[in-house]
């Protein structure tokens, strides 16, 4: 009897699940606030924006871009090969112009869907002979150290300035990565029951003063893409989109996603793919 009841309940859940999957959440309006709070927010936002153009125009990210260019063109690694003469970012060996906005994409030589950072790491390992574990040990910048991969990603990203995002979602492997990424974004777990979508699945929400883009919409997804890799004012370090994904999981109270893994590549495919058609402005400056 008890078994039957459970079975029946489960069936309901499954049906409910199948039903509940397709409809999108209604677009929520920002919660009504008391007047002073709204003014404070708007004044602050307007004030930040006044200085935005200036901050972006003289962005220390250019220092890293410059270093990345040198590293891209220099023969390096155990095999003493330059990435410029060996690495195919999807548009042909050594071609960087427009490559960043067309990733993630599927690379047959690696049989994997790769975002820009993952692809450059793959080239460093396969073409230049660096060890993946050495790169993955300290993949992100801190106060005293900027990894080469960060400079390289910044350089590559700078050559897609003012270009439209064009993730090849019609490619079946990329499409599958997008679908899996979408599910990863919705997956709730951990002590706080958070998923990516808890913060980034609805329009018009904030954490404290921080606006939270809705990554399921083109404009919202672009907000999650724009400015990465970015020079972070806090700490004054250059950080990549891979780092940003990890930091979301940190705040989600999850364990850490492995560097240059499928999980991060698929999530980036979902997010960047959702931003297709939007204009990428190049490496940015972040709060």
């Amino acid at each position: 009897m008890k078994q039957n009841l459970i079975g029946a309940l489960c069936a309901i859940v499954i049906m409910g699940g199948a039903f509940a999957q397709t409809p999108k959440k209604p677009v929520a309006k920002p919660a009504a606030q008391t007047a002073p709070a709204v003014e404070a927010k708007d004044a602050a936002t307007i004030e930040f924006e006044k200085f935005r153009a200036e901050m972006e125009d003289s962005n220390p990210a250019e220092l890293f871009e410059m270093k990345g260019e040198e590293q891209w063109k220099t023969k390096r690694g155990p095999k003493n090969v330059a990435l410029a003469e060996s690495c195919d970012l999807g548009l042909g060996i050594g071609k960087v112009q427009g490559a960043y906005v067309k990733m993630p994409r599927y690379f047959a030589d690696a049989d994997a869907v790769m975002d820009a950072e993952r692809r450059i790491v793959w080239c460093m390992v396969e073409k230049q002979g660096f060890k993946f574990d050495d790169i993955a040990k300290k993949p992100f910048a801190n106060a005293n150290f900027t990894p080469d991969i960060t400079n390289l990603v910044t350089y590559v990203a700078s050559h897609s300035r003012n270009m439209k995002i064009a993730v090849p979602l019609k490619e079946p492997k990329v499409r599958e990565a997008w679908e899996i990424g979408k599910e990863i974004a919705a997956y709730r777990a951990g002590p706080y029951d958070f998923s990516c979508n808890t913060c980034h699945g609805t329009d018009g929400k904030r954490i404290r003063m921080q606006n939270l883009p809705n990554l399921s919409t083109p404009a919202g997804a672009m907000k999650g893409v724009q400015g990465w890799p970015g020079y972070r004012m806090t700490g004054g370090v250059m950080l990549t989109h891979q780092w940003r994904m990890g930091d979301c999981f940190r705040q989600q109270r999850f364990p850490e996603p492995k560097y240059a893994s499928d999980a991060v590549a698929y999530l980036l495919t979902y997010m960047i793919g959702n931003a297709n058609g939007q204009v990428y402005k190049g490496p940015g400056i972040k709060r």
Binding site: P60, L63, A143, G235, G236
Partner: protein
């Protein structure tokens, strides 16, 4: 060895705009590292901007200038092709010189 600066110098009408990005940690001496140890002060103290062989700006800098400093200056009497040379020296005696041509 300090990393190179990035210098952008462009003529806007009869005014040359010079924008300089410097790679430097600009440690105040008050920050603590992950292990809780104070990080010693390490910051640029002096800088000069020379255009066409003449010093146009001399700057002195303290610990409260941001990490990876950005400076913007303007001058009259320069022309396209003039050489801009920027120097800095920090409190540890590290130094760096880079140059660019006005575009």
């Amino acid at each position: 060895m300090a990393d190179p600066m990035k210098i952008r110098a462009t003529m806007k009408g009869d005014v040359a705009e010079i924008r300089i990005l410097m790679a430097h940690p600009m440690e105040t001496g008050q920050r603590k590292d992950a292990a809780g140890n104070a990080v010693p002060p390490h910051f640029i103290q002096t800088m000069t901007v020379e255009v066409g062989g003449k010093k146009v700006v001399e700057g002195h800098v303290g610990t409260s200038v941001s990490r990876n400093p950005v400076f913007g200056f303007k001058m009259k009497g320069a022309k396209v092709g003039d050489k801009v040379v920027v120097n800095w020296v920090d409190n540890k005696g590290d130094k760096r010189t880079d140059e660019a041509a006005i575009a």
